[in-house]
Amino acid sequence: MTDSFPILLLVMAAAAFFCRIAGFTLMRLVPVSPRVGAALRATPLAVMAGITTLALVQGGLAEGLALGAVVVLTRVIGSDVTAALLGVAVVALLRWAGL
């Protein structure tokens, strides 16, 4: 690797920037029909379910219990942000306990 750091930085920034704007720019050219709108509205739930599933598969008992607690707490408390923060506290506690 002989390239200087600023050049490396520029190349990495360009790739990251491209990913941030490409989908948005592409969709400006596509008319958003009700069908496309339904697909776009469904992506957050699918992505978040995917993220949760991967964490469950990669994690152990502590992670599984904490994420289960998050789901229950969201329903009980009615605040997803509070439930998520409590879930992080639960996993920290379980790991500290050696689980």
């Binding site: 990913c19 704007i21 957050p44 699918a46 598969v57 997803d80 998520a84």
Partner: protein, 232 residues
């Protein structure tokens, strides 16, 4: 679409909602700073990397690649493209909402796009958020946390507790699980959840987690499009 606005009011509402994200991203930043310091980056280089790429997973991969000593510019570019490809999907999902304001505001906001604030923003949009500055607002505390965390971590503060011991690595999945639970209101909402989970499971084993997240979003969107029935 009802009212379209881009105000400081909406920005600060986003900042307030994004504060817990900023704290957890700060802990991630410490982790990246430590890794960067071990790879021979000084504080300046580490912070510059965090500012230029602003994506934890992509930066860790880039630092790993640079450490091998045989990384080409193209390999570096491709690595970040592959790991961050999910942002293409995130930006597409935001477009019908964010595209209602002018290009400078929209593209400026996209610079602050991250995983967690995309989730926050999509939830807010579903709940009727009309102020487009909300996205940049949620991103601001995350960027501040990411840069300050990187700086302190790269300062090789080795007596810091491991971010993992405090559970911060579970922050993103915990928010994902909580928001999924909150956003499922009808039985049909469970369809993208099930499709996303199944797709992620099927893809992760062979193509890795980055592809699994994109696959989950694409599969969920495709099934929703197929199930869509025009009213009347």
């Amino acid at each position: 679409m009802a009212g379209v606005s881009f105000t400081w009011d909406g920005f600060w509402r986003g900042v307030r909602d994004g504060m817990p994200l900023g704290v957890s991203i700060f802990a991630y930043g410490l982790g990246f700073g430590l890794v960067a310091a071990q790879a021979g980056f000084g504080i300046g280089k580490a912070v510059a990397t965090s500012a230029a790429i602003y994506s934890g997973s992509a930066q860790l991969a880039a630092v790993n690649l640079l450490q091998t000593g045989s990384a080409t510019l193209w390999a570096l570019f491709a690595t970040i493209l592959v790991i961050n490809a999910r942002y293409i999907l995130f930006g597409a999902a935001l477009q019908p909402w964010l595209g209602q304001v002018g290009a400078p505001k929209a593209y400026g906001s996209l610079l602050l796009l991250g995983d967690a604030n995309w989730m926050f923003c999509m939830r807010a949009i579903a709940a009727g958020e009309t102020d487009r500055a909300y996205l940049a607002g949620t991103g601001a505390p995350m960027l501040a946390g990411w840069l300050s965390g990187t700086a302190i971590g790269a300062g090789a503060v080795s007596f810091l507790p491991e971010p993992q011991a405090l559970g911060f690595d579970l922050m993103l999945p915990a928010f994902a699980a909580a928001m999924t639970t909150a956003m499922v209101r009808r039985g049909t909402d469970l369809v993208p959840v099930a499709v996303g989970a199944a797709a992620a499971l099927a893809i992760a084993g062979t193509l890795g987690p980055a592809a699994a997240i994109i696959g989950a979003g694409l599969a969920g969107g495709a099934v929703a499009a197929l199930m869509h029935r025009e009213p009347g």
